[in-house]
């Protein structure tokens, strides 16, 4: 007998979406991640775009799942999970009318995949709808179904809802060994954090490390090559530079350097796309900054280096040109969900449905739960609500009036809520609340947040970390 029906390795967007989908059924599910919190892998550092599905080859799996994921976000996910999804639309611009056939090709391919309402627009339309574009821009493809979301809060919403529906979550649990059950019984014995978990089915959603996990489980042999992308965030004062997400024509390896609106208001420029061997290389470089600035400024010349307030790198888990989502007959019960490169964030809800069907085809019995809770309450973000609503909240809970982070207006109550919802690290608090992510980068609020974390978690200050063991902030306390 196994302890679990399904064990999912990886609490990024892929694993989280699968966990939440499977939590609709009468199953015992375990979700493991090696990091201190969910969403600390690739899913925390990306562009946050819910792509429409354009710029993918028509026959591709990732193209099909992207279009479907986009639809699920617009029609169900955002509402069910209380997500701050903004359907702002996207423009793919050209600098030379000679490139019109390229745009036309993207339009046709998009329509083949099922993307709706695509339209080529001229400079006059652009002047009216995106007045900040530079003089070089001649025309664009308008893609209205694209939008933006906070990627980590998408993951947290899925995980919270999955846990609410009975999924067990264990973080700081790195899977180090996987064995087939003895005596021909189907299933696996998975070792993580010196514990052994027995499971009938195993889902590998380990992102950059999906190749290593597949090998541990005796599954297929493939290699994930990270493709690094550097992104640069601009000051909120520049919030209104763009109304849409703005793309140039794609290259064979990437969608190019973009001007990205983000759901928290700060515009972002990037990402670069360069293969690297090192799965831990999250550094940014002078060359990357120069490349991003040049690309963005060609589309919008008013963007300047002094607008930048933050930057980061992410690694796309790339294996060939498409996602790998399949049951491994060599290791019955193992479903690999690997090579989830861009548009993995968008596709996640559709990937989850696809993985569910593959599991069912291979013998997982899916009996719907009558008590499934579809909805998750939206957390409060003072910055997103009018002052009149803030007043009502403060009446109910005075600590909403106790502002901790002044740049992003985050109250002590929001920080406590975030910890109650699972934040265990400073980055976890930041991703959930935005405290420390404004222009002062925590210069004013870090000490206060650390103290609230100590109170709520009952930890000595030396054990408060930025993002898990090894990233302690304070070495010693003088009493």
């Amino acid at each position: 007998m196994s302890d679990y029906d399904v064990l999912i390795i990886g609490a990024g967007i892929t694993g989280a979406a699968i966990a939440r989908e499977l939590s609709k059924f009468k199953l015992k599910i375990l979700l493991l991640d090696k990091e201190a919190e969910p969403a600390f892998g690739v899913s925390k550092s990306n562009s946050g775009i819910i792509h429409a599905g354009t710029q993918n080859p028509p026959g591709s799996l990732k193209g099909r799942l992207c279009v479907e994921g986009n639809r699920l976000m617009r029609e169900e996910m955002a509402k069910d999970l209380g997500l701050h999804f903004i359907q702002c639309g996207q423009l793919i611009v050209i600098f030379d009318l000679k490139d019109l056939p390229e745009l036309e090709k993207i339009r046709l391919e998009g329509e083949t995949l099922g993307v709706e309402d695509l339209r080529i627009v001229d400079r006059l339309w652009l002047n009216a709808h995106e007045p900040g574009l530079g003089p070089e821009v001649q025309a664009a493809l308008y893609v209205p179904s694209a939008g933006i979301i906070s990627p980590y809060r998408f993951v947290y919403a899925l995980v919270e809802n999955a846990v609410r529906n009975g999924v067990e979550l264990k973080t700081s649990h790195k899977v180090t060994a996987i064995k087939r059950l003895k005596g021909g019984e189907p299933g696996f014995e998975v070792t993580a954090a010196r514990q052994v978990f027995r499971t009938r089915f195993l889902v590998n959603a380990a992102g950059l490390f999906a190749d290593e996990v597949s090998a541990l489980a005796g599954g297929a042999d493939f290699k994930i090559t990270p493709r690094k992308g550097e992104e640069y965030l601009l000051d909120k004062k520049r919030e209104h530079i763009a109304n849409h997400i703005i793309f140039p024509l794609p290259t064979p390896d990437s969608k190019g350097i973009l001007i990205i609106r983000t759901s928290d208001g700060n515009p972002m420029i990037g990402p670069t796309a360069h293969a690297t061997e090192d799965k831990g290389d999250l550094s940014t470089t002078d060359e990357g900054l120069a490349e991003v600035l040049a690309g963005a400024r060609r589309m919008m010349p008013t963007i300047s280096k002094s607008d930048i307030i933050a930057y980061f790198s992410g690694l796309r888990p790339v294996c060939g040109h498409d996602f790998i989502i399949r049951h491994e007959d060599k290791a019955p019960g193992l479903v690999n969900v690997a090579g989830i490169q861009s548009p993995g964030l968008t596709a996640a809800p559709a990937i989850a449905n696809h993985a569910r069907d593959i599991l069912a085809d291979n013998g997982l019995e899916l009996i719907p739960r009558k008590d499934f809770h579809r909805n998750r309450e939206k957390p409060v973000h003072l910055l997103q609500i009018p002052l009149s609503k803030t007043r009502e909240l403060i009446k109910k809970e005075p600590a909403y009036g106790d502002i901790v982070c002044r740049c992003e207006m985050v109250s002590a109550q929001e920080i406590r809520d975030a910890i109650k919802r699972g934040a265990r690290t400073l980055d976890g608090v930041k991703f959930r609340t935005r405290a420390q992510s404004g222009r002062c980068h925590g210069g004013f609020c870090t000490t206060r947040i650390v103290k609230i974390m100590q109170e709520e978690l009952g930890l000595p200050v030396e054990e408060i970390t930025k993002r898990g063991p090894g990233s302690e902030l304070i070495m010693d306390e003088r009493k």
Partner: protein
């Protein structure tokens, strides 16, 4: 919405001096809003001596300097202080909204003085390439951690920038048992006061690398080392001069930026390079009846001059209110 004659935002040395001067000039209804739990602003974390030489002809610490003003404010019934009160909104017609635990208050003011101080420039603004591990602190944050909380951030530090806060923190960390490996300054001369270079670095044998810059920060979870290189007059790297320093802590001390987001929200003109108000003279903004003083108006080296100039702001506000009443 309640009406008040004069509202001052920020209870640091600037806000307190402005409030006291406005009182002296006859304003009878003054509300001083401070987001922290104490008056005093940044001075509370500056426990080293060197404040008040001009003003009081005495060498005080930051908190001692602040206390002299706090006492005078407390002895003034005309000045009402509201602590833990964070101003979130300001309009051009002088309506102010602030949050405090348990309440959102809205006020219509006759005149407003903004004394909101500065924030620190960050690593992101320079910007320094590399990874983003724990152990990188703005120098003022490190000052607050060590002096106010007793939290020692690490064992071995490198300081980027030779501003006064960085210099003072170099000495402070040595006194707390940390090793300070170097102060790295891209300019040819130190940005801080000469007395601080002597008393905080030379007396402790801490090397100051002028015309050098940090090329990269290394480390996955916590800082492991930094790359350093010499630069020429145009700040270009000199080939072959690069070296590395191992450390677990990096302090960033590369200057201050006036906090004028409220003023900007009200629609006043702001200089985009310095983030200071654009006005005909110091303390004035482009909106009549809204004044700015202290570090919010321009970055000051010495608190003595903050107090002096902020008193002028208090007088100006009083004159504005008097003129309007006539």
């Amino acid at each position: 919405m309640t009406k008040r004659e004069l509202v001052i935002v920020g209870g640091g040395p600037a806000g307190m001096a402005a409030a006291l001067a406005a009182k002296e000039s006859g304003v009878r209804d003054i509300l001083l809003l401070e987001r922290d739990q104490h008056l005093g602003g940044i001075l509370n974390q500056c426990i080293h001596p060197g404040f008040g030489l001009h003003r009081f002809k005495a060498e005080l610490t930051g908190p001692e300097y602040a206390d002299r003003f706090i006492k005078m404010v407390k002895d003034s019934p005309e000045i009402q202080v509201s602590l833990r009160s964070f101003v979130v909104k300001l309009t051009g017609d002088k309506k102010i909204s602030y949050l405090k635990p348990g309440a959102l208050e809205e006020i219509e003011a006759g005149a407003i003085i903004l004394a909101t101080g500065c924030r620190e420039r960050t690593r992101e603004m320079i910007p320094i390439p590399g990874s983003r591990p724990a152990g990188i602190y703005p120098a003022g944050l490190a000052q607050k951690m060590i002096n106010m909380e007793g939290w020692i951030p690490g064992k071995e530090a490198v300081i980027v920038g030779s501003g006064d806060i960085g210099l003072i923190m170099a000495r402070r960390m040595v006194l707390e048992g940390m090793k300070v490996k170097a102060v790295i300054e891209i300019q040819k001369t130190s940005r801080g006061l000469v007395r601080n270079v002597v008393q905080c670095l030379e007396d402790y044998g801490i090397p100051l690398y002028l015309s050098h810059k940090i090329t990269k920060i290394y480390g996955a979870n916590r800082v492991e080392k930094v790359g350093v290189v010499e630069v020429d007059e145009n700040f270009n790297e000199k080939p072959g001069t690069g070296f590395e320093l191992s450390c677990d802590t990096v302090l960033i001390s590369v200057g201050l930026i006036p906090e004028n987001e409220l003023l900007e929200m009200a629609g006043a003109a702001i200089d985009r390079v310095t983030n200071t108000p654009v006005g005909p003279e110091v303390n004035l903004t482009s909106i009549p009846g809204i004044f700015a003083c202290g570090n919010a108006a321009k970055v000051y080296d010495l608190v003595d001059w903050v107090s002096r100039d902020s008193e002028k702001a208090g007088k100006m506000a009083a004159e504005y209110l008097g003129g309007k009443a006539l």
